[in-house]
Amino acid sequence: MSNKIPVLFSIGWNACINCGACVAICPQEAGFISPFDTIAVDRPCDIACLLCEDICPVSTITHQQISLSGQGTEITTPGTPS
């Protein structure tokens, strides 16, 4: 499942119902969460299994692939919601 290229998730807060299903399915270690009962959106995810996007009842999680090149983080390809 993992595509290995780290991703940065983005949540459509307008649709999100703060249900926490994305956190429940997330294989990350403790703490990969936002203050709104969702997965973290302020740092990259290096597992990139994208299961959170599959479980979301309102399909409001999307991602962008990022590459860690030169100085810091750079967004390379815009992701598509699955």
Partner: protein, 391 residues
């Protein structure tokens, strides 16, 4: 930074946490119960159905404060709308009904009120309760106890405790703090969405609609919600569909045999969440730590119900920990295993059996046959003469 001392710190004041805290305090322990929310139970992630037995067996009084609606039985429907009616008012009239000397089979509760009620029960038994308090981490010091770090209204506080109870629900971080194996598979987590609606008639029965067309991997439900409102929802397994739960609710409301019944529905609330249709955690304890309720995946894998199992496990956990600590036993993993053993005897064995039954059904590749089996199992499960011991 302030430091405090307790026997138990319980993270999460849902049904599992508050019940654990209540029983521990009743038996004399000093207990701190924390929850990060400002209003327990909200936003609601639950339909609120629980049997009367589930409440009374752990001493929860039946109280109008938290009840939306009494329930007297079930309607199990197959994909085409064929129904099996299991009305306990007719099946067991000496016990169940609306009369003075009869009782309901169960209730649909308001989770905001219910969670607050259970927390208040714990609080009156002597538990200290802190809302707006998030558990951040813990460090085991072995026989000496553990240090739990919380943040309360932006203030970081360290608490010395003998045992930390992780009752932090399906999104549990407490188990991850201890490096426990808590990961759930995508084909065993149902993605759920439900609407509270006006203008949909519902009898005081829980309606369960099976069939891959409506809820692949799970089922759809229509529950009466009191005040003439109803709850329409469903859960789907993401690997069994290309659509999300929201699409499926829409499809169920517009295209199923209930489409005329739902035609006038007006949505009053939108709720959702994840329901594990999985086995309980293989290991629910570590040094100075146990998990209870959804955090330990104490959920019925056939029905997805986790309220009864949460409060029952809470009673076991609270009572067990009080015995352990009152007897001066070191709360190491080797001793806390006793909690899981007791839980296994009381309900764990049965949950694993239900998990096997559920897995067998969803292993069937042929969809019509799988539909038939799920309908038959659900109908059987809720019958008074069911071979399944209810949990």
């Amino acid at each position: 930074m302030t430091t405090k001392q307790y026997d138990l710190v319980v993270v999460g004041s849902g049904p599992a946490g508050s019940t654990t805290a209540y029983f521990a305090a009743q038996a004399g322990l000093r207990v701190l119960l924390v929850d990060k929310r400002q209003e327990l139970g909200a936003p609601i992630q639950c339909s609120g159905a629980i049997s009367r037995h589930g409440l009374t067996s752990v001493g929860i009084e039946i109280d109008a404060e938290y009840i939306h609606q009494p329930i007297y039985g079930f309607r199990i429907l197959n994909e085409e709308g064929l129904e099996k009616r299991i009305d306990y008012r007719q099946l067991k009239p000496t016990e169940y009904g609306e009369a003075e000397d009869q009782v309901p089979l169960g209730y649909v509760v308001d989770r905001r009120r219910f969670d607050r009620y259970l927390m208040r029960r714990a609080e009156r038994a002597g538990v200290d309760v802190w809302l707006k308090t998030e558990g951040l981490g813990y460090e085991s010091r072995g026989a000496a106890g553990c240090t739990v770090k919380v943040k309360r209204f932006d203030e970081e506080i360290e608490i010395q405790a003998k045992v930390l109870v992780g009752a932090d629900g399906l999104q549990s971080q407490v188990g991850r703090w201890a490096g426990m194996q808590t990961h759930i598979r995508i084909n065993e987590l149902a993605s759920c969405l439900q609407f509270i609606v006006d203008r949909v008639e519902a009898e005081p029965l829980l309606e369960i609609v099976t069939g891959h067309e409506w809820a692949p991997g799970g089922y759809a439900w229509v529950f009466p919600k009191g005040e003439g409102y109803a709850e329409i929802g469903l859960g789907v397994i993401p690997t069994m569909t290309d659509h999300d739960a929201r699409w499926h609710v829409d499809h169920f409301m517009r295209s199923s045999f209930f489409k005329e019944r739902f035609a006038d529905a007006r949505i009053l609330e939108v709720q959702g969440g994840g329901v594990p249709l999985a086995a309980p955690l293989r290991q629910q304890y570590a040094d100075n730590l146990i998990l209870v309720g959804d955090a330990a995946r104490h959920v019925n894998p056939i029905t997805g119900g986790g309220l009864h199992t949460a409060v029952s496990a809470g009673e076991i956990a609270g009572t067990f920990l009080a015995e352990l600590i009152n007897n001066g036993v070191s709360p190491l993993a080797s001793e806390l295993k006793g909690y899981q053993d007791r839980w296994y005897e009381a309900m764990g064995r049965q949950m694993w059996r239900l998990y096997e039954t559920k897995s067998e059904i969803f292993r069937i590749k042929d969809i019509p046959e799988r539909n038939r089996q799920l309908y038959a199992t659900m109908s059987e499960y809720f019958s008074p003469d069911s071979q399944y011991k209810k949990i």
